[in-house]
């Protein structure tokens, strides 16, 4: 059915059409949605038609595009909001200062920190280098627009197996090795150039990510409390100043692209939706924005991300109880000939909107001029809650904000899928010795040393990184659990940052898996000596219009909310990324948690590697036979539906024992037990310290040897306690702390009655250090 007659070309010296929706058939409505690239559903198109019929006029193309942006899944969370409200929005405490583009939490009496994580999955799947780079750009602006200085970046990444044979690579999909290389290079070249350390993250591999890799990026910032700003104008009469990069045709329909499933044609059709990053525009933008803000010249600000100007103008005005008028002619462009709708929805990078009182405009413009950053007043706020746009003197847009920002909200059907759920247990056969299994686990791509990635990122710029991502004796590096930043010059208070995700567990049991992710974030933070303080999450799931995917989402969020709520840890910001599917199917349901913790005195922090001969080794937390989704079961092709659960009381008690033990100086090294279980945690501690340990696991209870070695039960840590200080380890009835051995020698020896494994530390190190270099070095 043709739609050509429905577009009414307007008499204007530029491209402008009205769209005659009033007489459209349903088919034509959908055709218009498709042609405009907005991806609106039939019901949504009908609602738009209703609105304009009531007002007796046709929408312009600018208006239709704008509604498409504002009502996309990416912008209005239409499928997820109902669950988020039920399970996570409610966790509140007095430490939450704001929930804007980034969450803002209290750091100390005078300072606040901001945190946020989001996804940049689809752009990275199509163009890994640019997609990953602009992901950083976007998250930096989210933190910056709260008035906070970005001080740390976090990059959790998920790819298909690196050794995937080309024959198994689907049409139109890029090889995981290429994607990993491109994404890491993108993060490196952008993150290093803007001078913000990349301090945490993670790397996961699974077949399900072959068609749709996940690239999440988080950022943490710090601010004087008096410099914290809301994403809102102060009132009518504010001047809207657009600062940063110029606007071009890159990144048009990015949000729509993010709100649909990837297809074989994504490469050719959606390449233009990937924006182009410019770190050397962003770096001075940060300087200038912070300088203007610290001088009190900025009333409020907001970043231009998904939806570009079309989202930012309405949202920043409405948040301040106003409307706005904008002259699109004034927007600085990269090239000539953009139609007004393109200017309005372009997602070109490195741009922010500042709301400035009229008397301060010149001072703001001067600051930006010094940094050679374009800054242009493009409009102002008005009393009426509507947005009007002009282009070359012609009014091209006039909408009520209540309508534009009242995106639909759905309570879509969700139910567990019966097919594909394996309930039957398949147990690996018991062995006499587990030396080889241990080495195999250490070399697993999901466990092995990530130094190839980490050392390409500058994790020390700003010189505040106290506890670093790689820890150990010089030349013998192992993984840490959390990174600690000392953000305030005059204070020894620290901010710990940790990343957690376990898509394998969530895939089998989303509720318990979701709980486990929060548990892991908390135990990572505690292991460095911090008290968990806030979380932000990026929830990467499949198509929410499919009931089983939405069920996974709901269950995960329920589990996460339960543990976070139980510990009174707020989640002041977050991001949902749906439609992570390719023709091969959905990705594993992947919630990523970025946790922040407070360290009272950074000089008390500990690292994960073993420190000294003769010290005692403890296991804190109860080990159970919960082998579902464990690395051990995965490498032995076994299965169990029983995924580790979380006992919130035991978690709280464990965090307290570890944090207090570290503050007292009794614990000198600590590592959380996660992928690969106790055996792997101990191995990593030995590798970093270049020293062995003699360990007897009889005290853990009556279980098979392999369960003791490789169970991934939650809320557990290995702690090295200084010789003679064992009694200073705090006690708590709600969890256990068992002494299992002594540090020393050059082998890691594990017994439980009989010897289970006895491996030289140098062999452990070789198994742990080499795999990634062999695959991608």
């Amino acid at each position: 059915m043709s739609t050509t007659d429905l577009y009414i070309r307007q008499r204007a010296p530029f491209e402008l059409s009205e769209v005659n929706l009033s007489e459209c058939t349903d088919e034509q409505l959908m055709e218009i949605s498709r042609e405009s690239g907005t991806g609106l559903s039939l019901e949504e198109m009908q609602a738009i038609r209703g609105h304009f019929v009531e007002r007796g006029r046709h929408p312009t193309d600018v208006e239709l595009q704008s509604i498409g942006q504002a009502w996309s899944e990416h912008c209005c969370y239409k499928s997820s909001k109902v669950f988020l409200r039920e399970y996570v929005f409610g966790i509140d405490n007095r430490q939450v200062i704001d929930r804007g583009d980034a969450g803002v939490m209290e750091f100390d009496k005078d300072h606040a920190y901001a945190l946020r994580i989001e996804s940049h999955n689809h752009p990275s799947a199509v163009e890994p280098y640019g997609g990953a780079a602009t992901g950083i750009g976007g998250i930096l602006r989210d933190v910056l627009c709260m008035g906070a200085r970005p001080i740390a970046l976090v990059d959790p990444l998920f790819f298909g197996p690196l050794n995937l044979s080309s024959a198994k690579l689907p049409e139109g999909i890029k090889h995981p090795k290429y994607l990993l290389g491109g994404v890491v290079a993108g993060i490196r070249d952008y993150g290093n150039r803007v001078g913000v350390p990349t301090v945490s993250g993670g790397l996961w591999f699974d077949e399900s990510y072959v068609g749709n890799c996940l690239v999440n990026v988080g950022c943490v910032g710090i601010a004087d409390k008096r410099n914290v700003r809301r994403n809102a104008v102060r009132g009518p009469g504010d001047v809207l100043v657009l600062v940063g990069g110029r606007t071009g045709r890159d990144g048009i329909h990015g949000v729509t692209f993010a709100s649909a499933v990837l297809t074989e044609e994504s490469e050719t059709e959606s390449r233009g939706a990937v924006q182009l990053g410019d770190p050397i525009m962003k770096e001075p933008v940060m300087h200038a924005v912070l300088e203007a803000n610290e001088k009190g010249l900025v009333n409020g600000m907001k970043d231009l991300g998904g939806g570009g100007l079309s989202c930012v103008v309405g949202e920043i005005a409405l948040a301040g109880g106003c409307g706005a008028e904008v002259d699109l002619t004034k927007v600085p462009l990269k090239e000539e000939g953009l139609a007004p709708w393109e200017i309005w929805v372009s997602e070109s990078q490195e741009r922010m909107m500042l709301s400035v009182s009229r008397r301060n405009v010149d001072k703001v413009l001067h600051i930006f001029k010094l940094w050679d950053v374009p800054a242009t007043p493009v409009g102002g706020t008005i009393k009426e809650k509507r947005v009007r746009l002009y282009y070359e003197g012609v009014k091209v847009f006039d909408l009520e904000l209540d309508f534009l920002t009242a995106g639909p909200e759905y309570c879509r059907p969700c139910s567990a899928s019966r097919a594909g759920r394996r309930t039957k247990e398949r147990v690996p056969k018991a062995r006499a010795r587990y030396d080889r299994v241990m080495l195999k686990l250490l070399s697993d791509h999901n466990i092995c040393n990530r130094d190839w990635v980490i050392r390409q990122y500058d994790h020390e710029v700003r010189a505040n990184t106290v506890i670093k991502p790689l820890q150990g004796r010089v030349g013998h590096w192992t993984h840490g659990d959390a990174t600690v930043i000392k953000p305030v010059e005059e204070s020894f208070r620290g901010l710990a940052i940790a990343t957690a995700s376990n898509p394998f567990a969530v895939g089998i049991d989303p509720y318990r898996g979701g709980k486990g992710c929060v548990d892991e974030a908390c135990r990572n933070l505690a292991a460095a000596g911090a008290r968990p303080h806030s979380l932000t999450d990026c929830l990467n799931f499949g198509n929410p219009e499919k009931p089983d995917r939405l069920w996974q989402f709901r269950e995960t969020v329920r589990g996460m909310g339960e543990v976070a709520g139980g510990l009174d840890i707020p989640i002041p910001s977050g991001n949902v990324s749906f439609y992570n599917e390719s023709p091969k199917g959905p990705v594993l349901p992947t919630p990523v948690v970025l946790g922040c913790g407070i360290v009272r005195d950074i000089r008390k922090c500990v690292t994960s590697e073993l420190k000294g001969e003769g010290n005692s080794v403890f296991v804190i937390g109860r080990t159970c036979k919960e082998m579902g989704a464990s690395s051990y079961y995965r490498i032995t092709k076994s299965h169990s539906p029983r995924v580790p659960d979380v006992d919130i009381d035991a978690l709280r008690a464990g965090v307290d024992i570890v944090a207090r033990g570290i503050e007292r100086g009794a614990i000198v090294s600590c590592h959380d037990i996660s992928d690969g279980g106790l055996a792997t945690a101990l191995s990593e501690m030995c590798i970093g310290g270049d020293i062995g340990a003699d360990v007897d696991l009889s005290g853990l209870g009556r279980m098979r040897g392999d369960v003791k070695l490789f169970s991934e039960s939650n809320s557990r840590w290995v702690a090295e306690v200084r010789k003679g200080r064992e009694r200073q380890l705090p006690k708590d009835r709600r969890t256990t702390a068992v002494r299992i051995g002594t540090v020393g020698g050059d082998c890691l020896r594990l017994r439980s009655g009989r010897t289970l494994a006895d491996v030289r530390v140098s062999s452990l190190a070789k198994a742990f250090n080499e795999p990634l270099w062999r695959s991608v070095g």
């Binding site: 770190p279 990122y457 106290v466 010089v474 000089r603 690292t607």
Partner: protein, 276 residues
């Protein structure tokens, strides 16, 4: 002069991003550092309040980062801007014996401007060396061990004892010091004769070693150089990142004492307190 009167110009443009920590090092030691945009020195787009003059400072610091993005050769763009507008001021600054410190990108800038190694004169007309892409072809952020080999000329290392090994971390993609191949041997000999070599990358036992101890494949394992008078000093590793012990990568193993980078800043302040 008193250290509290020592004015330190920490130069910045878009993409220099280690200025804050460099500034703090001097502030903590009681000097008067200031972050100064290049345009403040050249008088472009600034008010009269914002204008600054290079001769008013006692120390010039070119901090690390990616000045102007470093999309050409690292340091080349900032060096070109400096040379086109401030050549005279710079040469005069150095001639007066005032110290100039270039860290990482700053070192690259000093080599590109011809202020280092400057085996003859103050400022070579064309660069005599280059800091090329690392052998690994990647950005390398890793702890490096530096042995002080300078025999006393360099004013930034005077209080560091001879042969001491300092842990000063590196973070760069272009840090491989290279000379014109036909002149390499001669240049190395000359630099050694002039006592212009300051730091070399070594392993924990103090021996010259390959990757990863030397993160870039630098000629002669050279990590830092000074000019013939010892008052211009450039190095790839970042002493400002280890001013305190608690930013060392392995500090929980030995938490006491100052950071290994601190003596670099103390040395130069001691120098100007005596000489200027």
């Amino acid at each position: 002069m008193k250290i509290s009167d020592a004015r330190v110009c920490v130069l910045r443009i878009e993409g220099t991003n280690c200025e804050e920590e460099s500034f703090q090092c001097f502030r903590r030691l009681g000097a008067k550092p200031e972050k100064v945009h290049l345009k403040q020195l050249t008088g472009t787009d600034v008010t009269s309040d914002e204008k600054r003059s290079l001769p008013d400072y006692h120390i010039l610091v070119i901090p690390g980062g990616f000045s102007a993005g470093d999309y050409v050769r690292a340091g080349a763009i900032l060096a070109a801007r400096l040379k086109s507008r401030l050549s005279q001021d710079l040469a005069e600054f150095v001639r007066e014996g005032k110290p100039v410190l270039g860290i990482c990108n700053g070192f690259q800038v000093l080599v590109e401007t011809g202020l280092l190694p400057a085996t003859s004169g103050v400022m070579a007309a064309v660069p005599e060396a280059v800091l090329g892409t690392n052998d690994s072809a990647r950005f390398e952020c890793r702890p490096t061990l530096l042995k002080k080999v300078n025999r006393g000329l360099c004013v930034f290392t005077s209080i560091i004892s001879d042969d001491r090994i300092s842990l000063i971390p590196s973070a760069h993609a272009e840090g491989k010091l290279m000379f014109p191949l036909d002149r390499e041997k001669g240049m190395l000999r000359e630099l050694d004769d002039n006592d212009q070599i300051v730091f070399k990358y070594v392993d924990p036992r103090g021996r010259l070693a390959g990757y990863p101890w030397c993160p870039n494949g630098s000629t002669g394992n050279i990590a830092g150089l000074c000019n013939r008078d010892g008052n211009v000093f450039g190095l790839m590793p970042h002493p400002e990142r280890v001013f305190f012990r608690f930013t060392h990568p392995d500090w929980p193993r030995s938490p006491d004492g100052a950071g290994d980078g601190r003596p670099v800043f103390e040395s130069v302040l001691r120098y100007i307190s005596k000489k200027l």
